[in-house]
């Protein structure tokens, strides 16, 4: 029981970190960034290259992953999202193509086979039969720290409030003097950074492989849909629902069915309550 | 031929906001009524509820004494009521003729496949609203605002309504275009069409209506002859207060 609780908390913390960057884009820019998973892919491989292959310090590897993710976010906004001018279908499709493109770039550079990331902090602690690798614990704690600072940032800084304003009503925000383009670009950069850092943790939790962008994308989608858009707290709560659902399914039903309930949750929520569990009711 | 519309105790809530607050009125067959009120008074919301685009929270809507609240939009159109929109949004990649064709299409998949379009009827409808034959092949992006409103009227007329709801038909039009549309509405009135018209252009509205209804903040504040309603204190206050 305690074992399930521990595993659930570790996994959910990671899921929250994965989903939050996606939530930001979906609520501020109102677009579905299907290439979101690619930030995790690129982040993970960047860390692998710098820290594990070149032997740079681990912190530098994480920082470089963040920087590259940030640059990727800005590029994506400037080269794809802006030229398509809010054409949602076109953005969805071009980000999907971009994700496949980045996947093949990774295959080209690093090859097709899985890579193992060394634990960021080696060591394991055993509590009530559950193994707690320090690396995973660190990932969960880091993800909480990042989420709380993000929450504080959105609530208490000028930039954060501007982001909230744009997310609620882009036109209204423009009238009150907020430069929506600038806010959008900032959000894309932030989302890219968060995604890439999440990628390092995700890969150290699991593994690095070129197809690793799909699973976190689905998790992010699930969290955003179930939680409703625009809420960091909602993201956190639903990440725990999804995380615990997976752990409970693997532990008590069958490990193969692990993702099934997440999918069912997405479908049921979307059909039954399209605005999500914690979303605002739209006029 | 003409339809009768009856609204009874209509209420629509969006979350905490009451957009329509216990509104009742009747449009007799062949009658034309102007629906006036300041911005955000809830005029378009009433149209949406009549058409079934929004479901009312409570109250009844009747066409010719039949409750239509449970019908879908296409079924209501079949019952005889059609509307136009404040901002005309035609099918952008289709020609004028094809836009009208959608209105003429029967609501049966089988008939859509087996029966071809009727170009003569398309032309007839286009000409009846004052569009020229050579405009049939144009794309909506090549039309003026006035022509877009005419196209919208033609597509709505294609559904063979017995009552029309016109939403801000004069917005964005030149004086000449207003005259053309007015004449068109007048001639349809002569043919017995029932009208409910929303317009900010009160001068253009006046000659087209028999009576007027004023609403503010979702509530009916006055009804009666056009001049009586315009003279009403509450109505004047609502306009002054809002603008």
């Amino acid at each position: 029981m305690l074992q399930v609780l521990i595993q659930g908390l570790l996994l959910s913390g990671l899921y929250a970190l994965i989903a939050v960057g996606f939530t930001l884009i979906f609520s501020v820019g109102r677009v579905l960034n299907l290439a979101y998973g690619a930030y995790l892919l690129i982040g993970g491989y960047t860390y692998f290259y710098f820290s594990q292959q070149l032997g740079l310090p681990k912190f530098a590897g994480v920082a470089l992953a963040g920087i590259i993710g940030c640059a990727l976010g800005i590029l994506k906004f400037q080269l794809i999202v802006r030229p398509l001018k809010g054409n949602h279908v076109a953005i969805e499709i071009s980000t999907l193509i971009l994700a496949v493109f980045l996947q093949s770039v990774v295959i080209f550079v690093f090859g097709d086979s899985s890579k193992i990331l060394l634990p960021i902090i080696p060591g394991v602690e055993r509590v009530a039969g559950a193994a707690i690798p320090f690396s995973n614990l660190f990932a969960a704690i880091a993800s909480w720290v990042i989420l709380i600072s993000l929450w504080l940032f959105v609530r208490s800084t000028h930039m954060g409030r501007a982001m909230q304003a744009v997310s609620m009503d882009a036109k209204g925000a423009a009238i009150s003097g907020v430069d929506a383009t600038k806010i959008n670009m900032f959000t894309w950069a932030l989302s890219g950074t968060l995604g890439a850092i999440a990628g390092v943790f995700f890969a150290s939790y699991t593994q690095l492989y070129p197809g690793m962008w799909v699973a976190p994308l689905i998790i992010a989608v699930a969290v955003v849909i179930v939680g409703g858009i625009g809420s960091i707290i909602g993201t956190l709560i639903v990440a725990h629902i999804v995380g615990f659902l997976e752990i409970l399914t693997s532990a008590y039903i069958a490990p193969e069915l692990r993702g099934v309930f997440t999918m069912l949750l997405i479908i049921v929520i979307l059909v039954w309550r399209p605005s999500g569990l914690f979303g605002r009711e739209e006029l | 031929m003409s339809a009768k519309l009856e609204i009874r105790n209509l209420v629509k809530r969006f979350g905490g906001l009451v957009a329509t607050n216990d509104v009742s009125f009747t449009v007799e067959p062949g009658q034309s009524i102007g629906l006036i009120g300041p911005n955000g008074a809830g005029k378009t919301t009433i149209f949406s509820q009549i058409m079934g685009e929004h479901q009312q929270s409570s109250g009844d809507i009747l066409i010719d004494e039949n409750e239509i609240s449970r019908l879908s939009t296409p079924q209501r159109i079949l019952a005889g009521v059609s509307r136009t929109y404040q901002v005309p949004r035609p099918f952008s990649d289709m020609s004028v003729a094809e836009n009208i064709r959608v209105g003429l299409t029967p609501d049966s998949i089988w008939q859509m496949i087996t029966r071809g379009p009727n170009p003569d009827r398309e032309l007839e409808l286009a000409e009846s609203v004052g569009l020229a034959e050579e405009q049939l092949a144009r794309l909506p992006s090549e039309l003026s605002m006035g022509d877009l409103r005419k196209l919208e009227m033609a597509r709505t007329l294609a559904t063979a309504p017995r009552m029309m709801l016109l939403d801000e038909v004069f917005a964005g039009l030149t004086v000449n275009e207003i005259a053309v549309i007015s004449k068109l509405v007048q001639s349809m009135r002569d043919d017995g069409m029932t009208f409910l018209i929303v317009s900010h252009d009160l001068k253009a509205l006046e000659p087209l209506v028999d009576e007027a209804i004023a609403i503010n903040q979702g509530q009916l504040i006055a009804e009666g002859s056009y001049s009586d309603v315009m003279a009403d204190k509450a109505v004047r206050a609502s306009y002054l207060g809002a603008e």
Partner: protein, 316 residues
């Protein structure tokens, strides 16, 4: 329907060209053409639903998969003849798809895309767990009966199917049904405001799309002789179908065919130079550039070119 003699002449020419092709090209090229034909069928199916009505389906393999799995299981596990199992598969695709996706049709835009994506992932995971003795689990099944042997026969089978589907789709889309479906993609509210039941139309588009997907999927696996869930319910497969339709030109019938042929041949021609994964880099990079340059597809580029040319001609 506005049919003119030259329409039939062009279709006839197209068909004749495709039918005499085996006389001129190698068997290897025919094999490539077979895959192009199947991709064209899937792209037409996707386009019927998504290209026309604007409801983007990211889970189209879900439909193809129902058809493919139904006939695979029937023939492999129950020894049903293909002549019976394929029609059953088509019906199963239409019915199964409708039951599952009907609720999804009431949600719009990005959310519809997400539900279909989730649906595909769900079915992928379920195929592995529910009755793996029937479905073959994650590994799928091989050694299924095949409809034809040899490149030439396979080519004729696939090209006939593709042409029949393309011509039918083209004819149906020229009727007022096609007009109404395209109208949904432009302004759904106005379609219902014109007295047409949008739900009924979407259902018609969906059933038509499912019919093609089920038929294509069933015949496809009886051409391949094997079925593998990982390749079928794969986001890369979705990607290929969507890109074929979009690169060619969504909302048209010839667009998806042109897109499918273009992409399949691009991949095959790159094989001798870039045998490995680099091919997909070139492929997806090119797709991204083409799509960003003209979201309406090559078809639209072509028309714009003609229009420009016409205008130049008129000026002189």
């Amino acid at each position: 329907m506005g049919l003119r003699w030259h329409h039939f002449a062009l279709w006839g020419l197209f068909a004749v060209t495709l039918f005499v092709l085996p006389e001129f090209v190698s068997r290897g090229t025919l094999r490539t053409l077979i895959f192009a034909n199947f991709l064209a069928i899937f792209a037409i199916s996707w386009d019927t639903l998504s290209g026309r009505t604007g409801y983007i389906s990211f889970g189209h393999p879900f439909l193809i998969g129902i058809g493919a799995y139904t006939t695979a299981i029937l023939t492999k596990r129950f020894d049903v003849a293909m002549e019976i199992s394929i029609p059953i598969a088509v019906i199963a695709t239409m019915v199964g798809g409708l039951i599952v996706l009907l609720p999804a049709l009431r949600i719009k835009g990005s959310y519809f895309a997400l539900v279909t994506l989730a649906m595909m992932e769900l079915i992928y995971q379920l195929v592995q767990v529910i009755r793996p003795d029937l479905t073959g689990g994650t590994r799928g099944m091989s050694g299924l009966p095949t409809l034809t042997r040899g490149a030439v026969n396979g080519y004729y089978m696939s090209v006939s199917l593709m042409l029949a589907i393309a011509l039918t789709t083209w004819l149906v889309m020229r009727t007022r049904l096609g007009t109404a479906l395209s109208a949904i993609g432009m302004n759904e509210e106005a379609v219902s405001g014109s007295g047409l039941s949008v739900t009924k139309l979407k259902m018609a588009a969906f059933l038509f799309s499912a019919f093609i997907a089920g038929l294509g999927g069933a015949v496809y696996i009886h051409y391949l002789g094997s079925i593998a869930p990982r390749a079928l319910f794969d986001i890369n497969f979705v990607f290929t179908i969507i890109v074929a339709a979009l690169i060619g030109g969504a909302g048209t019938t010839v667009g998806p065919i042109a897109g499918a042929f273009f992409l399949t041949f691009l991949l095959e021609y790159l094989r001798p130079y870039l045998p490995g994964a680099e091919r997909y880099m070139v492929y997806s990079g090119l797709a991204l550039i083409l799509y960003m340059a003209q979201p309406k597809g090559m078809w639209e580029l072509f028309f714009q070119g003609i229009a420009k040319f016409d205008r130049l001609g008129r000026r002189e």
